[in-house]
């Protein structure tokens, strides 16, 4: 085992006086796929944004041993982190091709960035739409473009926020396969998902957030076995048992 790639220690994020994330610690080892699950408002998106530097956070965030906590987003991008946010944040009035080109901006035209043709092989639908504006794409195509754009930056850690959001089941399966394949190619992945089954099926390890704190973590197989507990925290089904009591022992 090598050391962790990403390490967050008691990270907290507050909007004014309301703390959305409270003392969350997590690690992602190289080449692993880690998922963060939780109900709406549990703090998943806030956590990812804090790790990426979009939101200011307290605590310590380390990437490959170096302290990122006070670095701006751009500096974290330069170190090899990448985030595909929930709203995708594509350049809607620019072409698919230009979106991809800007994905490799951190290399400033020097070699090292991704190859557009390779992306088109990976996502053939994008090749058909290469001269179209990103704003004209369908939901699934947007997610593909967001992933391809992020991959153009050759990230070593890719964070995805709800990649299945608003996508039809077939496309969700597609997206999950791609994420899984990236992990196999050596990219470490931190995946935030509400689609718990799909996420746990491809993940190595998982964390469950509730009320801004980690209430449960473990190997994805363990979590899958503990499905009822997980689902209660996700607000999916009425619980027959009283889970919060068991949560503490879940760690």
């Amino acid at each position: 085992m090598t050391g962790p790639m990403l390490e967050a220690e008691s990270v907290s994020v507050a909007y004014g006086k309301v703390e959305a994330v409270r003392g969350v610690s997590l690690t992602v080892a190289p080449g692993r796929l880690v998922t963060v699950l939780g109900a709406n408002g549990a703090g998943k998106t806030t956590l990812l944004n804090a790790l990426m530097g979009v939101l200011p956070a307290r605590g310590v965030i380390r990437f490959e041993g170096s302290d990122l906590t006070r670095l701006p987003v751009e500096a974290r991008v330069a170190q090899g982190l990448s985030l595909i946010p929930e709203r995708r944040e594509l350049f809607s009035t620019m072409t698919v091709e230009d979106n991809l080109r800007l994905g490799a901006f951190r290399f400033r035209g020097k070699p090292g960035g991704g190859d557009i043709d390779e992306m088109f092989r990976l996502f053939p639908r994008l090749a058909e739409r290469r001269r179209q504006h990103a704003g004209t794409l369908s939901g699934g195509e947007r997610q593909m473009l967001a992933m391809a754009r992020a991959l153009m930056g050759r990230p070593r850690l890719l964070m995805l926020d709800e990649p299945s959001l608003g996508l039809a089941p077939l496309i969700v399966a597609d997206v999950m396969r791609t994420v899984s394949r990236l992990r196999d190619e050596g990219v470490a992945i931190l995946l935030v998902e509400q689609n718990a089954r799909a996420a746990l099926q491809i993940a190595d390890y998982g964390y469950v957030l509730d009320g801004g704190t980690v209430v449960l973590e473990g190997d994805s197989r363990t979590l899958q076995g503990d499905a009822r507990v997980v689902e209660t925290y996700l607000g999916v089904l009425a619980a027959d048992t009283d889970p919060p009591g068991r949560a503490a022992s879940g760690r």
Partner: protein
């Protein structure tokens, strides 16, 4: 007013409108990329004109000490900004950009000014003096306010305008200046004569527009600026720093402003505070274009130029009033078709 006069006024309007178009384009660029409504754009125009006039007269322009001072302030601001990641290499780069570059430009101006090296050289020196000021101003005044609202940025922008106008008075005095025309040629065209100066103005305006278009559509850096304007967060996630985009757009604005000053200096006497009114007319055009569309802003600028030239013929004392009133129908129209209610960021 007969047809010849009308044609004359139209010609005048188009030529003035070309300048307003340049200013409006840079205002739209700066606003879409940084959300700053760049009131001091007019000062770049005045500085460009007055710097050229100084060089023409063989004296060291007052903008030279201003450039050195702004560079030093920008250096301090940059070091403070980069303190989390400050390395020797970063420090060296900042030093070169904020201290050495202005010093080299100042040295060039100091050597070339008494030589009266000719109009072309003087124009190049003028552009070299004023252009870096844009980036420096961004670093000193606006980058620390990156998270502020459009309104706060606007108030800061007015503050910068106030300070620069005052400094203009200190460095250039209350006297106005005028420079010789870029060309003495005049070409007869029907009932009119088109001056070489007018052709230069329209030609250079078109050249700048084409250059901007090439920059935005053909270069990675240009596309990065467009990307920042389209989606600021998306751009940051690609590693495009807002400070880079801000510095770049402010520098382009300063360059275009200085060039506008160079073009307008032979037509009118420029004082230290002349730029404000010229800049505001660019604003009228930019606002008509909704502060978002380049072609609409450029077209509106030509219209503003024509309104102004007709107004100055019909009621010269009130020409500014008439030009500014031109935005009322536009605002009214925009107001009537605006969305009902939306929260602003």
């Amino acid at each position: 007013m007969d047809a010849t006069i009308l044609l004359l006024l139209l010609q005048d309007g188009v030529v003035n409108g070309a300048i307003y178009a340049l200013i409006a384009l840079s205002l739209v660029l700066v606003f879409t990329v940084t959300r700053v409504i760049l009131i001091p754009q007019g000062e770049f125009v005045a500085f460009g004109a007055l710097t050229l006039a100084s060089l023409e007269a063989g004296t060291l322009p007052g903008t030279v000490p201003l450039l050195l001072g702004l560079g030093a302030l920008a250096f301090l601001a940059d070091v403070a900004e980069a303190r989390a990641t400050l390395t020797g290499r970063v420090l060296l780069r900042l030093c070169l950009r904020d201290l050495v570059l202005p010093a080299l430009v100042a040295a060039a101006a100091w050597i070339l000014a008494p030589l009266k090296a000719g109009l072309l050289v003087e124009i190049l020196v003028t552009l070299a003096i004023v252009t870096p000021m844009g980036g420096f101003l961004h670093a000193v005044a606006f980058r620390p306010l990156a998270h502020a609202s459009v309104l706060v940025l606007l108030i800061a922008s007015v503050g910068v305008h106030l300070a620069l106008t005052g400094l203009g008075l200190v460095f250039f005095g209350a006297e106005g200046s005028r420079t010789p025309a870029l060309s003495d040629a005049s070409i007869p065209a029907g009932p009119l004569t088109v001056s070489g100066q007018s052709l230069w103005m329209i030609g250079l305006t078109l050249a700048i527009i084409v250059a901007l278009w090439l920059f935005f559509s053909r270069t990675l850096l240009g596309k990065a600026l467009v990307a920042t304007a389209v989606n600021r967060l998306g751009a940051r996630l690609m590693g495009i720093a807002p400070s880079l985009a801000g510095r770049l757009s402010f520098s382009v604005a300063a360059f275009i402003g200085a060039l506008s000053g160079v073009l307008i200096a032979p037509l009118t006497t420029v004082y230290y505070d002349t730029g404000f009114l010229i800049g505001l007319k660019g604003f009228v055009a930019a606002i008509i274009g909704g502060l978002a569309s380049y072609p609409a802003a450029a077209a509106a600028a030509i219209l503003v130029g024509i309104i102004e030239s007709v107004a100055s013929f019909e009621a010269s004392a009130f020409k500014e009033v008439i030009v500014f009133m031109a935005i009322i129908p536009v605002l009214l129209w925009r107001s009537l078709r605006s969305a009902p209610v939306e929260d602003e960021e």
